[in-house]
Subunit: 332 residues, 2 copies
């Protein structure tokens, strides 16, 4: 094509940028398909997430950050299910006008998080689109047979637990995206950086996977907002919950934002992009679960208790009932 | 949104249209992740393909046909690797303005091919895009440990074999798409229908999977054109090949098109969208491989022989050397 930038073809591109992410054990992306070899007695947990530029990330975000996020949101699901990463496949749908520099940055970020999480690239497909950059990653993890942690195992009387801090991702998007609300200017530089980083670079809580497998009665990751994801967990488990919102863990940066605009609690609790673990555990199992979180350098807050009121989640804030207009981020 | 059509939300949509495709054995799409349980002694073959409206299919193609094709191209890869389908995950990236009628048709086509091929839906993600409809499917198959059929096993002296007929898909696109070339009008109604159907509804050759596992030295599916895919197979195997183009199997409809315009052989042999099996087998294994194909109601033509000339494919047509300008469909 006259005038088009000189760019490598699909096979050169795979060899140069993606084969290094494939690790040493597999087929090195040199076949039509990849191979996964779960150990004897183990099952495979499979999760898939699609991300679209302008919907799930900003088109101008650093390519390494986009790559990290695309794999991290899948690893977050594996962690919540108690699984250890085994590998992933990538569908990379490239818009017109992609550059090799962009792709090099993308592959670098992807390679870093793949190496950190021992999750090699086992296959993929690269195609072009007249639309925006679109990524779909399917990730695989292994769990001992019968030990995947489900959404559906919570029992009345169990404690409701959440890792890390809630709200940073949704607040971080406001800090990061154009058209910033007034409260952003009132935050310190460090608080702004913290929130934006939490939005751009979710940390999958893989360090909690083994403890969840051993001690949790139910778990999921918080991706669509604490309030909405909690509704899914109680529906799947056929239970209810009472949540004390004053105990939901907030970062210092999120506290500063909420000090500036108290209405931001709504965004923090419903906004999504947290990628923390929401789980339930019996009182007996709680100390072991908390100890595992501490050993992993993570907070694990008890925010409420499971009830037998099917599908009903009661929220208390400073002792008074609170309800939410919008349960969680809706894709449509 | 005022004025927007009344449409089901993501969870209703999953329950109504996709849960029925999940089969009875799994988690019914009610958790964050799916579960695969390969039998003891089996490994998992993983393949992924992305399809974009306007690139891999026409936006106005029947939604059931789009769904069928999206899964079929993945099943074709599993078949070529000798694997039995275990399940698949779907990333469905919906453009603005999708309708429930479109989605119902899509789910119906997807459910039919999933049932026919015993390949249940084990998970997925549904998101929206300002761009064109985009689908990414990752499919899983099982093979006895160590028995995945690779691209890289062809040996000098092996026969080069191809299933079914070649060229129908690429010719079918010309018949099906707007702006039809002159030769299309000269074809019979039945020939036009045959070619368009071959483009719209690829048939994954799963019936050959067991025989490939038992008898083939190397295999891949023909998706990017016979000439280009053959180049990949010889490169992966570190061999060469001599191909007698007069023996490449053509359908009656493709023959009629080539009669009308002899230059169409180029398109037939390089155009892609065949989803037939290209494989190699020793002379000793060939009769068993051919018998298996016959039992499956499929042709299996011997089109040439593997040589030791690394990476060199020599094509003969009516006894004379022929070369191809464009090896295969290039995505960039």
């Amino acid at each position: 094509m006259a005038g088009a930038p000189q760019r490598p073809g699909e096979f050169e591109l795979i060899a140069r940028y993606f084969a290094p992410i494939a690790g040493a054990g597999g087929l090195g992306l040199r076949d039509d398909a990849g191979l996964l070899r779960p150990a004897r007695g183990f099952e495979l947990v499979v999760t898939t997430d699609a991300l679209v530029a302008g919907v799930h990330f900003l088109p101008d975000d650093p390519p390494a950050s986009i790559a990290r996020k695309a794999l991290a949101v899948n690893l977050s699901d594996l962690a919540a299910k108690g699984a250890s990463p085994l590998g992933f496949v990538l569908s990379l749908v490239l818009p017109k006008g992609w550059t090799e520099a962009w792709l090099a940055g993308f592959a670098q970020g992807l390679g870093e998080i793949a190496a950190e999480s021992a999750c090699p690239l086992v296959g993929g497909d690269t195609v072009s689109t007249p639309g925006p950059l679109t990524l779909s990653i399917t990730a695989f993890g292994s769990v001992p047979a019968g030990r995947m942690v489900l959404r559906s195992g919570a029992k009345p009387g169990d404690l409701v637990l959440v890792s890390g801090t809630i709200g940073d991702g949704a607040l971080g998007l406001k800090v990061h995206a154009p058209g910033k609300p007034d409260w952003v200017a009132g935050l310190s530089e460090a608080d702004r950086a913290h929130l934006a980083d939490r939005y751009l670079h979710p940390r999958p809580r893989l360090a909690l996977a083994a403890a969840l497998q051993a001690h949790a009665s139910a778990a999921m990751d918080v991706s669509d907002g604490l309030v909405g994801d909690l509704a899914k967990l109680v529906a799947a488990s056929g239970i209810g919950a009472e949540i004390d919102l004053d105990t939901v863990p907030l970062s210092a940066a999120a506290r500063a934002a909420i000090m500036a605009d108290p209405a931001l609690t709504e965004l923090a609790w419903t906004g999504g992009d947290d990628y923390e673990i929401l789980c339930t555990a019996s009182e007996r199992e709680f100390p072991a679960m908390a100890a595992a979180a501490e050993a992993a350098g993570l907070g694990l807050a008890c925010i409420g208790r499971v009830t037998s009121e099917l599908g009903v989640v009661r929220f208390l804030e400073r002792g008074r009932a609170r309800s939410f207009a919008q349960g969680s981020f809706a894709h449509f």
